[in-house]
């Protein structure tokens, strides 16, 4: 790329008395070409593989289609069906409950650890902690879930064995509804808090140390410094981090799919799992699209609400 493109322009050194207006015009035209050439891959790509499929899904939601037969227009039937379907309802409730708990936990843990890691300590130690804490992020959710399924196994899992040392009876982590919910939550947060942690590291380290030193002179310590300095100064970071965390969490699929397949019963079934099952197991592509649209609307609403709230609560110092 960089080998060919510079040839298209030559370094123009303006001779004395040259027409600067003509040069500016020429440069403006070159800029216009550059704008659209540079945007083309992204715009064409996103258009073809995101917008067209989104419109396709929107359309499909009003049809009954099983791939084999011709699509049949059914109006709002799919939406009516999903509103009546108890499995769909429970999976959305599961997802919302999961998102609330997981995101709060993720933000709290990540901010807390980011503040600790950025506090005064030898550099090698900081590097060590930082590395350890965001390590799970580089693993695949499927692999992690596979590992955790063994660890939380009721009979031979390490977790129950260790709890046994303290006299706790074997817990059916993945065989009871509540246990399975807890495991999915823990496995998800375990793997994903690292991303939020990284974002917060940037935010916390951007706060000038002098601010803390000045406040120390004024007698502010620990919690008060966190409350009065750290929290307001990382609030823009918190907004970005929470928007991303919520959008990601709403799409949870891999962990419950590998750990529990949505069970026991429907206790860990999530919105995306129901989309997957409707489409690729029951071949109800119209219904799957309708569920997908509801989920997407939910994601958009959450994001809008958050940006509205941020106008009131985020401090852009």
């Amino acid at each position: 790329m960089s080998a060919t493109a510079p040839n298209s322009t030559r370094v123009v050194i303006l001779p004395k008395g040259a027409d600067p207006a003509a040069h500016a015009r020429q440069s403006r035209r070159a800029s216009r070409i550059l704008i659209w050439v540079f945007l083309a891959p992204t715009l064409i790509g996103l258009g073809l593989f995101n917008f067209v499929p989104i419109l396709g899904s929107l359309l499909l939601a009003f049809f009954r289609w099983d791939v084999i037969e011709k699509p049949e227009f059914v109006g709002l039937d799919n939406f009516a069906e999903l509103a009546m379907d108890p499995t769909v309802r429970i999976s959305f409730l599961n997802t919302i409950g999961f998102v609330v708990v997981a995101v709060c936990l993720q933000l709290a843990v990540a901010l807390f650890l980011a503040v600790l890691v950025q506090s005064v300590m030898p550099n090698w130690l900081r590097t060590l902690f930082r590395s350890a804490l965001f390590f799970p992020l580089v693993l695949s959710a499927a692999s992690v879930s596979l590992i955790m399924a063994y660890l939380f196994n009721q009979e031979f899992g390490l977790v129950n064995e260790m709890l046994g040392w303290f006299g706790v009876a074997k817990i059916g982590w993945l065989t009871t509804g509540f246990g399975a919910k807890i495991v999915v939550l823990l496995v998800y947060v375990w793997q994903n808090f690292g991303f939020t942690f990284l974002i917060f590291l940037g935010g916390v380290s951007a706060i000038p140390r002098e601010v803390y030193e000045a406040s120390s002179l004024d007698g502010a310590t620990g919690w008060r410094q966190f409350r009065m300095i750290t929290l307001p100064l990382v609030s823009p970071t918190t907004l970005v981090a929470s928007v991303m965390a919520i959008i990601n969490a709403l799409q949870i699929f891999d962990q419950p799919f590998v750990l529990t397949r949505g069970g026991p019963g429907d206790s860990t079934r999530t919105a995306v799992m129901v989309i997957y099952e409707s489409a690729f197991q029951n071949l109800e592509f119209g219904l799957a699209s309708a569920i997908g649209i509801v989920l997407t609307v939910l994601i958009i609403l959450v994001t809008l609400v958050q940006f509205q709230l941020s106008k009131r609560f985020v401090f852009y110092g």
């Binding site: 440069s27 899904s57 499927a142 596979l146 063994y150 990284l198 940037g202 699929f253 997957y276 997407t296």
Partner: protein
């Protein structure tokens, strides 16, 4: 957080430091322990008859006999690298335009691009599958690569990064007579290394670990990626051993760990520069 609250002044630092390191130590233990346990279990397979565990690479050898590891690794590497390079190029160009040029409809276009991040991939997978079939790419590795070259998040990240670079760089180059193309390729792009690294590393990490799309978009085994292959291994769980599955997991982790070791710095710094400000 109540590290230094009510302690008398003289003894304030010590318990605070101890508490801090204890908390961080416990957190680090919890993030690393499951991985170390996986490694340990994979390296100490149990004998089928005696259930005696002994150290060795037998479980890893089992993985190679049960699935074509090299083929899956090659597929994964090809898909992942091409996506990473493609995303770095496309996002650098688009991000640069959004950061440094004014044109009609810019805000709109940028909002639309960001909006695509809000639609889950699982929602659009059926139309994407149909599109890919229409393009004659069904059941090829290109089906996994091409749709992922454009990146809304990468564009956002690169835009943030380029916005943070001073205008004076362009002004100085323009006074020297450089046109807009040259300003990009000789001035701004060489400065974008940290941010490009994060786009590339995030892409590598995400697509190396990706499961959902390959599951749907590839059909024949010769196009499987490593995570799909691992599931084949998991299918043998009834007859095979925990150690074999976990050995497969360990093998698939190696590139991710390498990225982690060598790419950690650009990843962190890129994130800090891009969005964590």
């Amino acid at each position: 957080m109540s590290i230094t609250t009510a302690e008398p002044r003289s003894s304030r630092l010590r318990p605070a430091a101890v508490g801090k390191f204890a908390v961080l130590g416990i957190a680090a233990f919890f993030t690393l322990a499951p991985v170390l346990w996986t490694l340990y279990t994979a390296l100490t397979p149990a004998d089928i008859d005696t259930q005696q565990r002994s150290f060795g690479f037998a479980a890893f050898a089992d993985v190679f006999t049960q699935i074509p590891v090299w083929l899956y690794t090659w597929n994964s590497a090809l898909v992942t690298l091409l996506i990473a390079v493609g995303q770095m190029l496309s996002s650098a160009m688009a991000g640069y335009v959004f950061a440094r040029f004014e044109f009609r409809g810019k805000k709109w276009l940028f909002a639309l691009i960001l909006a695509t991040m809000m639609v889950p991939m699982q929602v659009t997978i059926v139309p994407v599958f149909m599109l890919i079939r229409g393009m004659g790419l069904a059941d090829t590795l290109l089906a996994l690569i091409v749709p992922m070259i454009p990146t809304a998040f990468g564009t956002f990240l690169m835009r943030q990064y380029f916005m943070g670079l001073p205008d004076e760089l362009a002004e100085a180059a323009e006074i020297d007579g450089a046109g807009p193309w040259r300003v990009f390729f000789s001035v701004y792009l060489p400065l974008a290394g940290p941010s490009l690294a994060i786009v590339g590393i995030l892409a590598f990490n995400f697509h190396w670990n990706e499961f959902f799309r390959p599951l749907i978009l590839t059909i024949s085994e010769q196009n499987f990626t490593l995570p799909l292959g691992l599931v084949t291994l998991q299918g043998n769980l009834g007859t095979g051993s925990v150690a074999t599955v976990l050995a497969g997991v360990v093998l698939s982790m190696i590139p991710a760990v390498l990225v982690f070791v060598f790419g950690q710095k650009p990843l962190r710094e890129g994130l800090a520069a891009g969005i964590g400000k």
